[in-house]
């Protein structure tokens, strides 16, 4: 009796999960009509594929601790789980580009999508440390002479860097949380397959990154272990990346049950870009904001 009932229950559950996640859009990763290589090679989304996709993405989200609910004081209210990841701060050390012993500090948000990367490179003999702050928010990118530069008169300089917008924004979406969010947002353009026994998720990004496709490989615990990106635009070699994530743990002083990688190794266009060890992650949706300086908006409007 049990054997007869369970398959139908599982099928119903899978269909329900599929309906819940498909199509899911996100303001940060708007749907696009432009087909990407990954989805072109995928068969038409049969219901079985959709159910498997839903199951795999849910497992990946659960593995990272993204799906959360709490009934404290809820009384008769029992809410479903939601993606609880928005803002996050990461502090790491390691090799950045050609610089060893660099300090790598990231503040990020997914709603709206934004990222501020602060890099302090060790001083050469007799010189001062190099310090850069590279920021992106949606379609805007700029460099800051200090955190929050250009927002108040006399408080630092914000230099527009619109040419770097895609490359910077891509860094947000190839983080494990970004992969899961973007794969869900891509709906039936996301395909799930198996390679060498590992689960692989492929999907196109959208918006300004619509010419980028992502291939993510999960480990046995459904954690994102490797992310590869490719671009239709051969000129944008810095959008061709390969990143490996390992040593997952809750790295926060204030524990959140959000898992983050402890070791990140990234190559851009085949060249080493990052090899860093994470020291601290504040995943408790901390206060991180990314207001756009007026001169950056003006430069973007002018196409500079």
């Amino acid at each position: 009796m049990r054997a007869q009932i369970m398959p139908s229950k599982i099928w119903m559950l899978a269909a329900m999960l599929a309906a819940m996640l498909t199509p899911m859009s996100h303001s940060a990763v708007a749907q696009t009509d432009k087909s990407k290589p990954a989805s072109e090679t995928a068969p038409a989304a049969a219901s079985g594929d959709a159910a498997n996709r839903t199951k795999v993405l849910r497992a990946a989200a659960d593995a990272l601790g993204m799906v959360r609910w709490s009934d404290i004081g809820a009384g008769p209210i029992h809410l479903p789980g939601i993606d609880a990841v928005n803002t996050m701060e990461i502090r790491a050390t390691g090799t950045v580009g050609q610089s060893a012993d660099a300090e790598y500090h990231v503040a990020l948000a997914y709603n709206p999508p934004a990222m501020r990367v602060e890099i302090t490179r060790k001083a050469a003999a007799g010189g001062a440390p190099q310090h850069t702050i590279q920021t992106v928010r949606e379609k805007y990118a700029w460099n800051e002479s200090e955190i929050g530069a250009g927002l108040e008169p006399g408080k630092g300089t914000a230099t527009p860097a619109i040419a770097d917008q895609k490359e910077r924004l891509l860094q947000l979406w190839i983080l494990p949380y970004g992969v899961v969010k973007a794969a869900i947002a891509a709906g039936d353009k996301t395909a799930v397959s198996t390679e060498n026994g590992a689960t692989v998720i492929t999907f196109p990004l959208s918006g300004s990154l619509a010419d980028v496709s992502v291939k993510a490989t999960l480990d046995s615990k459904s954690l994102v272990a490797k992310v590869e990106t490719r671009s239709d635009n051969a000129a944008l070699t810095n959008l061709v990346t390969e990143t490996e994530y390992s040593d997952y743990a809750d790295h926060g002083e204030l524990l959140t049950d959000i898992k983050s990688p402890g070791h990140i190794v990234e190559k851009k266009a085949g060249r080493p870009a990052l090899d860093i060890r994470v020291k601290m992650v504040d995943a408790n949706n901390p206060y991180l904001v990314f207001p756009i300086p007026a001169n950056v908006k003006a430069a973007s409007a002018a196409g500079k």
Partner: protein, 318 residues
């Protein structure tokens, strides 16, 4: 009442102590039985908006129900702008961003620690954040992270305005309003507050002549059918939203707007504080439901007695 590990029992105790009238506010519609809800979205208005003899909307009554009674994480999420609209759909009220929504994979209750950590995340998920001057960004982050020690409403001090949200009771005459904010234990332990807000056309006292207080000097006027309560003269010993470490200066200026639509009351607060904010900030609208019992009253608040602060051993908090 904020310490790690004590919340769940504290909340359970508080909920057990809540009067039946408060549970009645959770009834989905007047006359219907108490039912479990799977959404935290704002209630839909129903019925006509009553008016006073002078023609203004009648805001009087007991206002705490589905959307915003502070007694539970789901409603606090709604206050922070996350609307769970159905079992499959959620969005950020501030910018409309969709938020992936998943069915629960277990019907077992979470243990206290996991529930607390989830609550902390969920209550900080909304995108509607005040924009402080950059020199205060790290300070705000640290205040929130260290709220167990830094929250100025610890030790049962008043939450202040606008952190208190909308009042649970409004009394209305032609020339003044009475607002009552019952004290609460559990998730947000606060002292009972009241405000008597004149609406007789008077002007504000010059700011420099006011001694700062928790609720400031409030003066009301009507903007069409919306009641506007304009306040200044605050002390700096409060935060202006429920979470976030959102401190302010003594120069904070708060404009609250109350709009009744049938049996609902929508409240927003705009905070102006050029000393610390880059720009004014407006809260996500909170929608209260009128208590359907015409005889409903506010019962005496339980006394706030802080017993947990001395036992805090981690930074974890709501």
């Amino acid at each position: 009442m904020r310490s790690h590990g004590h919340h769940f029992l504290a909340v359970a105790a508080v909920l057990c102590l809540l009067p039946p009238a408060l549970f009645a506010q959770i009834v989905a519609e007047p006359g219907h039985a108490l039912v479990a809800r799977t959404v935290n979205s704002a209630p839909t208005p129903s019925g006509a908006t009553p008016r006073t003899p002078d023609g203004h909307p009648d805001l009087s009554g007991v206002w705490n129900a589905l959307g915003d009674d502070l007694t539970g994480v789901p409603n606090q999420m709604a206050n922070d702008g996350i609307s769970i609209d159905s079992a499959t759909s959620s969005h950020d009220v501030f910018n409309g961003a969709k938020i992936a929504t998943f069915p629960r994979n277990t019907n077992r209750g979470l243990d206290t620690e996991k529930a607390e950590r989830a609550a902390s995340l969920l209550r900080r998920l909304g995108a509607n954040r005040p924009i402080y001057k950059p020199e205060y960004w790290e300070m705000v982050k640290n205040l929130d992270e260290n709220a167990n020690e830094e929250d100025p409403s610890n030790n049962c001090l008043p939450s202040g305005i606008p952190r208190a949200g909308y009042p649970s009771y409004i009394g209305q005459t032609a020339s003044y309003f009475i607002f009552i904010y019952p004290g609460q234990g559990g998730l947000i332990a606060t002292q009972t507050m009241y405000r008597m807000v004149p609406a007789d056309g008077r002007k504000h006292t010059p700011l420099q002549d006011l001694d700062g207080t928790y609720t400031g000097e409030a003066i009301a006027h009507w903007d069409g059918d919306t009641l506007v309560v304009d306040s200044w003269g605050f002390d700096a010993n409060t935060w202006f939203d429920q979470i976030g470490g959102y401190f302010h200066s003594e120069n904070m200026h708060v404009i609250e707007r109350f709009h009744r639509d049938g049996n609902t009351l929508t409240w927003t607060a705009t905070v102006e504080d050029p000393d610390v904010l880059l720009e004014p900030w407006t809260s996500t609208p909170r929608v209260a439901l009128l208590n359907p019992d015409p005889h409903a009253i506010l019962l005496e608040s339980q006394p706030c007695s802080e017993r947990d602060l001395g036992h805090i051993v981690t930074k974890e908090h709501h």
